[in-house]
């Protein structure tokens, strides 16, 4: 202890301020995000459980075309017939009680066209999530999913002029039925897995994006999803089509109130990148830690197209999510960049799939995972190179950081190569925070906690630098929050 080098009173005050701010990030979670609305105000809420009658009711209520109604029923049969997957975290999966879930909840009858028209109670929710601020920041459009339906969206006029369609899926189905019918379910058929079948049967909301030929959308399209009612599943369905030579960046982010009993989130996201187009899809999920997040996300990339999944997983109890890209056209490129943070009682079972079908296709997968307080981070990936995909190049890199002895990291990569002229590489490392790195930073005057946080932030830097500014800031604050008390 050297008193003459001690902090000045001003420095101490500043440090205390920072510390109290840092505490605030987590301390007010309930106040900021964990509020409940008065559920009796809801217009419509299906009874718990799932059968053909519920599916029929959802479809009739939405006044859907006949083909969609039939697909829902067919998908329900697939869902009921398919057994629960026997891989992954079977113990948690088997705990899901499908009979104890509301499959459809609608917050209000009508969609708000402008912010002023949105019901006051809904507005309050969005205020807390910072949606109007986001709009002020020149965001392209806000499609906020409140409960199972989109209640508010706005699209900037210049997007309209370009012919870009950015709407909720239900409206998309009504107003662009031809496009939807041609593409919907072609990337992820309901038979794909048990949860894609469930989603197809009871889907509601989600986004529909169509970018016409050659149009480059300069600003990211954003959507916020919220789970609000206890025991309510969210089954949004997103379809993004980037026509030839177009470009679009779509951002989906989530926060959820903290509830005591389990909630199920099972989305299906389909991306279609036509020749020469580019789609970037950014997600940061921060579901509260009782949510099951079982998501199917898949893209098809045609010749010369580029698909990028930027995928952050912080929340939920169990996440199973493997963003996929099928490279079906020559010189298509896939980029999957993900980060997962598993804290206490969390299992982030995330990964990626790249399927090379066409020649000279390339893919790069970078995965970063951090486990702490007994959390479990799993990378599960597939690289498949089909016969004929000559000249394919694949590079997969997984790094895991384990912050304490109770936590766990798994890596389950699968590589199937059916073609000779390819280059497939996979590398993974698992480590703790390096003693030498800690020593170096602490010798420069940082506390162990600060040094650890700095190292963790540096570890996920390749991810954060791909995020828009406000998301990068939010992510760093969330990581800081998760890291609190990690040294001691």
């Amino acid at each position: 202890m050297t008193p003459d080098n001690g902090p000045t009173p001003a420095e101490t005050a500043a440090a205390e301020r920072t510390a109290s701010e840092a505490r605030d990030i987590g301390g007010d979670y309930d106040r900021k995000y964990g509020f409940h609305d008065d559920e009796s105000a809801y217009d419509f809420k299906s009874k718990k459980g799932l059968d053909h009658a519920i599916v029929e009711m959802i479809s009739r209520y939405k006044k859907e075309p006949e083909w969609m109604r039939e697909r829902r029923h067919a998908a329900l049969d697939v869902f009921l017939a398919k057994p629960m997957p026997r891989w992954g975290n079977s113990k948690l999966l088997d705990d899901i009680d499908f009979a104890n879930i509301h499959y459809y909840v609608r917050a209000s009858e009508r969609q708000g066209k402008t912010w002023e028209e949105v019901p006051e109670q809904v507005k309050k929710t969005f205020d807390r999530l910072g949606i109007p601020e986001a709009e002020r920041k020149f965001l392209a459009g806000v499609t906020a999913q409140y409960e199972s339906e989109v209640v508010y969206h706005s699209i900037r006029e210049d997007l309209d002029k370009l012919g870009v369609v950015f709407t909720d899926m239900d409206t998309g189905l009504r107003e662009h039925e031809e496009i939807v019918r041609r593409h919907w379910g072609t990337v992820i058929p309901s038979e794909d897995n048990k949860f894609s079948a469930l989603n197809t049967a009871v889907w509601s909301g989600g986004s529909f994006v169509y970018v016409p030929k050659g149009v480059k959308v300069e600003i990211p399209l954003q959507a916020y999803f919220r789970i609000n009612t206890e025991n309510m599943g969210q089954f949004e369905r997103t379809l993004i089509i980037a026509d030839e030579g177009s470009q679009v960046h779509y951002i989906e982010g989530c926060t959820a109130p903290t509830y005591s009993s389990d909630s199920l989130h099972s989305a299906v996201v389909e991306l279609i990148a036509m020749p020469g187009s580019k789609i970037r899809y950014t997600t940061i999920q921060n579901w509260s830690k009782n949510v099951y997040n079982l998501v199917t996300k898949r893209a098809v990339a045609h010749a010369g197209a580029r698909v990028e999944w930027i995928d952050g997983n912080l929340g939920s109890k169990l996440t199973m999510k493997y963003p996929a890209v099928y490279l079906v056209g020559e010189r298509a490129h896939a980029e999957i960049l993900s980060v997962a943070f598993s804290g206490k009682d969390q299992h982030q079972d995330a990964g990626s799939k790249v399927v090379h079908v066409a020649p000279n296709t390339t893919s790069v997968v970078t995965s970063k995972s951090i486990s702490k307080d007994g959390g479990r981070g799993t990378y599960r990936g597939l690289v498949k190179v089909h016969k004929g995909a000559k000249g394919a190049k694949v590079n997969v890199k997984c790094d895991a950081l384990i912050l304490d002895a109770a936590s766990r990291s798994d890596t389950y990569p699968t590589m199937e190569v059916d073609e000779k002229k390819v280059a497939v590489e996979h590398e993974a490392t698992v480590s703790k925070v390096g003693d030498e790195q800690l020593f170096f930073l602490m010798s420069r005057g940082l506390t162990e906690e600060e040094a650890t946080l700095l190292i963790v932030n540096g570890f996920i830097e390749p991810f954060t630098k791909e995020l828009p500014m406000e998301y990068a800031v939010e992510l760093n604050r969330l990581i800081q929050l998760e890291m609190e008390g990690s040294v001691g």
Partner: protein
């Protein structure tokens, strides 16, 4: 899924047991019961992703073993111990003959028929035989149980405490066209040093036999054991080996696995690093051509602190063949301060060949150093170009590069022990494949 005819297996197991001591007969019965009760392994597990276990279920009881080996390998025929400290020859899982170099017989090391040893050396055999069944989660235990119930014979190798064998123990095993089940036990007591080379081949190239074999390896404290497996079965043979090892404090197990033949091979190797300081080095080379289906699984369990492992499996696939490597590496909470590295490289020599890899890591604690890497590619054009500018024909350049790819493992085969034979086989196969 049901298991096809069980009753012939029951009577075969009883018949085998008739000559065995009571404890072994009881173990056989227990093995049969577990085999009959357990379902087939789940194909949802990566271990069985690429090979249908149904293909390994025997349709009948083991056939009666041949009692003639056929032509002996040259270094056996001349009857000298110049290059080996002991020889053993086995046919269809049964040890026909074994001989220890008389000059070092006083060291007390044993190379014997396992069933004879079970009767005459119970104190050495009973505590170790079947002892490793449940290590490494009992992975693949079902076929291990089958071999426990039915094994017709096998080799018992015992190297006493502190003994150093300067030349390897060499075992030649030949199988015919029937179904054979064998079981071997290798015990390296504390502080000893030894090498065992097991050379497996088909009696005739066209023999379509099936061999289920389990080999249990115990490496004592501070012992250093190297085991070399050379498999050059015929194109129609089926081979389902289960090799289970356990390494005690500061012991080192080196394995070199060479797979060149067989129509269908499903190999499982597990190593439990049971005490601090234990180490395992595993090298594998797989050359698949024709229509071979070669599936190799490894499971390294760092069950104690400060253990280390290094695994390097390399496969070259040609023709219409397929090679699968699934490797599991686990560091449980008890394995703090362990270091584990795993790599799998695949060279694809033909458009019609296929290489699959699943290297898994399960790390349950933080103070570790752990990594794995996989690479799959054709022969590097630049290397090929370089060799050709030095005057090599394209075919010779390819041969040179593939042999160089395998050389790190070939170097570990003791001098004069099959390494040249393996190189020759590889050259011949490469000549045919290019």
């Amino acid at each position: 899924m049901s298991v096809s005819p069980l009753s012939p297996l029951v009577s075969a197991s009883l018949a085998r047991a008739s000559g065995d001591p009571d404890w072994l007969a009881a173990a056989r019965a227990a093995g049969l019961e577990r085999y009959a009760k357990g379902g087939l392994p789940s194909r949802a597990e990566h271990l069985w992703r690429y090979t249908d276990p149904v293909r390994l279920v025997p349709g009948s009881a083991p056939s009666d073993p041949e009692t003639r080996f056929g032509d002996l390998p040259p270094d056996f025929a001349d009857g000298t111990f110049e290059r080996a400290s002991a020889y053993a020859i086995a046919r269809d899982g049964v040890l026909l003959r074994a001989a220890v170099d008389p000059l070092i017989a006083h060291l007390g090391f044993l190379v014997e028929d396992l069933r004879a040893a079970a009767a005459s050396r119970r104190a050495l055999v009973e505590p170790r035989l079947f002892a490793l069944r449940d290590t490494c989660d009992g992975a693949g235990g079902r076929f291990d149980d089958l071999a426990a119930a039915l094994f017709t014979g096998g080799t018992f190798v015992h190297v006493p405490r502190g003994v150093t064998l300067d030349r390897p123990v060499r075992i030649a095993h030949r199988v015919g066209g029937g179904f054979a089940a064998s079981r071997s036990l290798v015990v390296a007591e504390a502080q000893c040093t030894a090498t065992v080379v097991i050379d497996l081949s088909s009696a005739a190239e066209t023999d379509a036999g099936t061999l289920h074999e389990t080999i249990e390896i115990h490496v004592g404290r501070g012992a250093e054991l190297r085991v070399v497996f050379v498999q050059r079965l015929g194109d129609r043979a089926t081979h389902a080996p289960v090799v289970r090892s356990r390494v005690e404090r500061d012991g080192v197990l080196d394995t070199v696995t060479v797979a060149l033949g067989g129509g269908l091979v499903k190999s499982l190797q597990t190593v439990e690093l049971a005490e601090p300081g234990a180490r395992a080095n595993a090298l594998g080379i797989v050359f698949a051509d024709g229509r071979r289906h070669l599936d190799h699984h490894t499971f390294l369990d760092h069950a104690a602190p400060s253990t280390s492992s290094d695994l390097d499996y390399r496969a070259a696939v040609a023709g219409r063949s397929r090679s699968s490597f699934t490797g599991r590496l686990r560091i449980p909470a008890a394995g703090a301060r362990s270091s584990a590295h795993q790599s799998n490289r695949n060279l694809v020599l033909a458009d019609t060949a296929r290489a699959d890899a699943i290297p898994e890591l399960e790390i349950l604690t933080n103070d570790v150093s752990c990594s794995h890497a996989v690479a799959t590619s054709p022969i590097d054009e630049e290397q090929l170009h370089f060799a050709m500018t030095r005057g090599l024909s394209p075919a010779d350049a390819r041969k040179l590069i593939v042999l160089g790819f395998f050389e790190p493992a070939l170097e570990k085969i003791p001098p004069g022990m099959l390494a040249d034979g393996v190189r020759e086989v590889l050259e011949r196969k490469l000549g045919a494949a290019s």
